[in-house]
Structures are given as structure tokens and as C-alpha cells.
């Protein structure tokens, strides 16, 4: 069975889209229902900064990989002849 590594990248991008919308929803909740004080702003700021750091470091490692690579799994396992 041969397939491209990029399949995993597309799955990851789908996860990122979902993650992004949930993050926006969290930030919206914080600003809509949180108290107007330093904790609300600071916690949201820290969330955004660390998220950017995680996304940037993920991008660094992901960009180094050749996603066009074809992967072969379980090849030849059914055509093997058994020796007696």
C-alpha cells in the first residue's frame, strides 16, 4: 500500500482549523463575560502569545519535512512464499 505523507498534513490542517475556531470562541467568551480587569486581559494575552509560539515552532519543524514523500506500508507481505 503506497500513499503520500501529505494526507497526514491535511488531517493536521483540519485539526488546526477546528482549534482556531475554538480558540476564537474562548477569547470571545473571555471578553464578553469576563470582568473588565487585568486578569482577563493578561490571561488572554498569555494564551495568544503561547499559542503563537506553539504554532511558530510547529511550522519550523513541519516546513523541514518533505510532504511529497510516498510511503509504502505492508508491501509484499501477502506475496511472500512460505518455505517448508
Amino acid at each position: 500500500m503506497t500513499f503520500s505523507l501529505s494526507i497526514f498534513l491535511y488531517l493536521y490542517i483540519a485539526f488546526l482549523v477546528m482549534w482556531f475556531f475554538l480558540s476564537l470562541s474562548a477569547i470571545y467568551h473571555m471578553f464578553k463575560f469576563g470582568f473588565k480587569n487585568l486578569i482577563t486581559f493578561l490571561s488572554t494575552f498569555i494564551f495568544i502569545i503561547i499559542s503563537i509560539f506553539l504554532l511558530a515552532s510547529s511550522y519550523y519543524y513541519i516546513s523541514e519535512i518533505d510532504w511529497k514523500t510516498q510511503i509504502s506500508l505492508f508491501e509484499g507481505i501477502f506475496s511472500r512464499t512460505l518455505e517448508f
Binding site: L5, W19, H29, N37, I65
Partner: protein
Amino acid sequence: MLSIYRLPNMLPGEKVVKVMRRDTFILFKKVLLFAVLLILPLVFFYLVLSTNSDFVSSEFFYPLLVLGVSAYYLFIWLFFFFSFIDYYLDVWIITSERIIDIQQKGFFSRVIAEQKLTRVQDVTSETSGMIPTIFKYGDVHIQTAGEVQRFNFQEVPHPDEVRDLIIKLVQRKRKEKPQEEF
């Protein structure tokens, strides 16, 4: 956005007496869980690498590892923020006129209830369990004559003091406005 100086339906002369959230220990438990989830992959990799060091250099497993680790850390970071929001947005406010119960139930549900102090019938504080006793937090149950008959302040610090404070405020209010319906 809520402001402590401009509560919803604020009455003339109303003053905020106390704003409460769950005890800090509850937040500490969430941070502890986050720390464990943070370390977990490191332990896993240590165990895997000590038995099979070729695993990371494999052209199939390395990309999966990068994507998996990235997705895992993004997920637990968001999960921790959700968890903090759940803690932070559950607020109980005692003012000179009323008690307000604001609860974030899940992520897309929010309940706000309020009741005048003069309609409070009974206040009970409850501390049960070893950890709540050590860290002095517990529940305060407030029985009222309103539509929402029971207000529960959950895992608030010093529940006995909160109960005493509410009883004192209710008694003062009843002296000020004895004609008001209880």
C-alpha cells in the same frame, strides 16, 4: 464585559460587598493536571527512545511525531485555557442589596440568577472532606423565596465567613426595610 462598578440591573446606592470564585486550590488542581499532561509526552519519548532510537529518524514516524506532538500541545493548551475560563467565569457576587450567581455551564451555556437579600430565608455553609477542611473551602447554600429557590456558592473560600456575612446583611436589610415582603 462585566464591570464590578456597573453590575447588570444595579440598584441606586447598591455597593458590591464581596466577589467570590472557587477557592484557589481548585485552580491549583487544574494547573497540576496541565503540568502532568505537559510532562507525559516527555516520559513517553524517554521510554521509547531508550528502547528504540531509530524510531525518531524513520521517514514515516518522524513526520507523524511532529504533527502528533504539535496537535497534542495545541490541544492541551486550549484545554487548559477552557478550564481556566470555566473557573474564572463562575462568579458569586454579594452586594448590599442582592446576591448574584453567575455560572458558566460548559462552554456555550451561561446561567445568571439574582435574588434580593430580603428574600433570603436560610443560609447554610458546608465543608465536607479532608482537603476542603485543610484548605478551608466549601459550599454555601442559600434558600430563597424566589423562583430560583436555592443558590449554591460552590467551593468558595471560608464558607462560614460568607454565611455570617450574608446573615448579617440580611438582618441589616430587614431592619432598614421591615415592610418589604420576605
